[in-house]
């Protein structure tokens, strides 16, 4: 089997994606992080049905330390099962992280692509707009949005997405400025491609690698952001999330430190895993780092 693979390697130049995969596999920490991340995602998807205890239900005495009476992580100040909170909260954290990152990627790509492709006045306006959002104090701005429009899950996603698209916009614009001058863009134009096609199916696919990396990192920061908002009490009170557990137990941090430590660790591990995956993608997608 291996021999056959090697033979094929010699005969045929590799597909770019398989080269990226090879590059990624070689990065030990990125592979571990990917493994951890997959476990967390599986937990987020299937956890609630495997561990159906309601995280808001008072199931035992308050402040029982981990391991007692079958409650693996103990209970919080209201006697709620922390394990249930952790399992059910994973879903919210991952969901918010991914959808907020997705939202900011969509906004960022659109604005960056239009600015980089059309240049001129359009670029001026869009880039000033980007700078405007860049200099806003992000936490404050999203707090205002959530406070104004209510602390529902979609609103939190929108608030996070609105404050974090600027990096994507700038990266996209930079890539567009570089790629639009390449000859194959001119060749596509010479074969009759419209502006829309040039932007989205000629230039954008070539600009994607750094955007993908940025998007991966943004999932991590969105999770942190959500935790921050929940900690401040700006989250949907009916949905448990890691940040919310920390926030509601913060008064008891000295008496029952495990109530905040465990969800804190969960956030830390998840964000670290995402960052390492992003880092691994960065190395794998960067042609200059390949074949070293």
């Amino acid at each position: 089997m291996k021999e056959k693979e090697n033979k094929e390697k010699e005969e045929k130049p590799r597909h770019p994606l398989s080269e990226v995969f090879d590059m990624y596999i070689r990065n030990f920490s990125a592979v571990c992080a990917m493994f951890v991340l997959i476990v967390i995602i599986i937990l987020a998807i299937f956890g609630p049905s495997l561990y159906p205890t309601d995280p808001f239900e008072m199931v035992w005495m308050p402040f029982s330390p981990p391991g007692q009476e079958g409650f693996l992580l103990g209970t919080d100040y209201l006697g709620r099962d922390l394990m249930a909170g952790l399992v059910h909260g994973a879903r919210v954290s991952i969901l918010v992280g991914i959808s907020a990152a997705f939202m900011s990627v969509v906004i960022g790509i659109t604005i960056g692509a239009l600015a980089g492709y059309y240049r001129g006045t359009i670029e001026e306006i869009l880039m000033r707009l980007t700078e405007f959002f860049q200099v806003l104090p992000t936490l404050l701005f999203s707090m205002v949005i959530v406070a104004l429009f209510g602390a529902s899950l979609p609103m939190i996603v929108i608030a996070i997405g609105l404050v974090s698209w600027t990096a994507v916009a700038r990266i996209t614009r930079a890539e567009f400025l570089r790629i639009r001058e390449l000859e194959f863009v001119m060749a596509s134009r010479a074969s009759g491609a419209s502006d829309f096609r040039l932007i989205f199916s000629v230039i954008l696919p070539n600009a994607l690698p750094p955007i993908i990396v940025q998007a991966a990192l943004m999932v991590g920061s969105a999770i942190l952001f959500e935790a921050g908002l929940s900690f401040l009490g700006l989250s949907d009170p009916n949905i448990v999330s890691w940040g919310q557990i920390i926030g509601s137990n913060r008064q008891y941090i000295l008496d029952a430190s495990y109530t905040v430590t465990v969800p804190g660790l969960a956030i830390f591990v998840t964000v670290l895993a995402i960052s390492l995956v992003g880092d691994g993608l960065n190395d794998a997608l960067n042609p200059k780092l390949r074949r070293r």
């Binding site: 045929k12 130049p13 597909h15 770019p16 001129g120 390449l182 000859e183 194959f184 001119m186 060749a187 596509s188 134009r189 010479a190 074969s191 009759g192 491609a193 419209s194 096609r197 000629v202 696919p205 070539n206």
Partner: protein, 328 residues
């Protein structure tokens, strides 16, 4: 005689520079008939590529524009049609091959997708039809192992193969005109010959007119029927290839031809030193002045060359040159 398929009338293209605007193409007129190959020759910076881009409507926006004249393609003025109409024409009725095959293909799509895309856009074919036709096209440009190659990415092909793919893309919709801007400068000599053979063969098959931009006199002699010699944005000589190469009238053309070593019939034992044209092409600022721009490099120059721009003088049928000193 059929009406010419492309008729360029008094075309001028302006380029904005720091010093102001200067005409990089100055009052250029020519005609192109179906199935004919017309060649533009001249040094770098003479406006050959600008002519090609002008015809395609691909002049770099913001720094250049067609300032006067008309580009009549089958009676339609390309200089004044809408962008949308231009997009319909490009790649469908007029297509272009570029200098650099290494960078002219989109690296993220397979060549089959890139060829098929053009067919879907202009001919309205569906995925399957376009795939089959792309297969035929790749076969027609003589790329071996077609069935596998159609799924290759550009980086998996050699330079010659990429240029063949470019040709396949350019000819996908059987255009009326193919603009080839130095299609072989980036390729080595043997591949060059193959590409030109291929172009000739395809021209016969599809009756496509070719505008060939080059600075290689050998290529012109082999490929083209008519040629236009450009200098500093102006046409200096026009005629059939035989007329111009056998009896060049303009001192610049004479210079260009005497620069080329292999156009002599018999190779003498001891070769004479090749002639060269002294000096360089004038800067953009002097483009458009009312004088002969070649004057500073010309051994025949007289006072009149400094005071007025030479008119087109007829030498024989279809052969004309812009010089005050013809026959002297």
């Amino acid at each position: 005689m059929m009406a010419p398929i492309l008729k360029v009338e008094n075309l001028s293209v302006e380029l904005k520079t720091k010093e102001g605007t200067s005409p990089v193409i100055d009052n250029l007129s020519f005609e192109l008939n179906a199935g004919e190959t017309l060649s533009f020759v001249g040094e770098s910076g003479c406006g050959k590529s600008m002519t090609a881009l002008g015809i395609m409507g691909l002049l770099p926006e913001k720094i250049s524009r067609v300032s006067s004249g008309r580009i009549l393609f089958q009676g339609e003025d390309l200089a004044s049609v809408t962008q949308k109409r231009l997009q319909e024409i490009r790649g469908n009725e007029i297509s272009m091959i570029f200098q650099e095959p290494m960078t002219s293909l989109n690296p993220v799509y397979t060549i089959g997708e890139q060829i098929g895309e053009i067919l879907r856009r202009h001919k309205g074919l569906n995925r399957k039809q376009s795939f089959l036709q792309a297969l035929d096209l790749i076969e027609a440009v003589q790329i071996p192992d077609t069935k596998n190659k159609i799924h290759s990415y550009p980086f998996q092909l050699s330079g010659g193969q990429r240029q063949r793919v470019m040709i396949a893309m350019a000819l996908a919709c059987e255009p009326k005109i193919l603009v080839a801007d130095e299609p072989t400068t980036a390729l080595d000599v043997t591949v060059q010959a193959q590409i030109f053979d291929l172009l000739k063969e395809l021209r016969v098959k599809t009756n496509t007119a070719i505008i060939l931009i080059t600075h290689d006199m050998g290529v012109v002699y082999e490929m083209a029927q008519k040629m236009i010699v450009m200098y500093a944005g102006r046409k200096v000589e026009e005629g059939s290839v035989n007329q111009v190469i056998k009896s060049p009238a303009h001192p610049y053309t004479q210079g260009l031809i005497s620069c080329v070593p292999h156009l002599t019939e018999k190779q003498p034992e001891v070769r004479e030193r090749l002639l060269e044209i002294p000096g360089i092409v004038p800067g953009l600022t002097s483009f458009g002045l009312n004088k002969c721009l070649f004057e500073s490099r010309c051994h025949k120059s007289v006072e009149k060359c400094l005071s007025s721009k030479p008119d087109s003088q007829s030498i024989s049928t279809g052969h004309q040159a812009n010089c005050w000193n013809l026959g002297k």
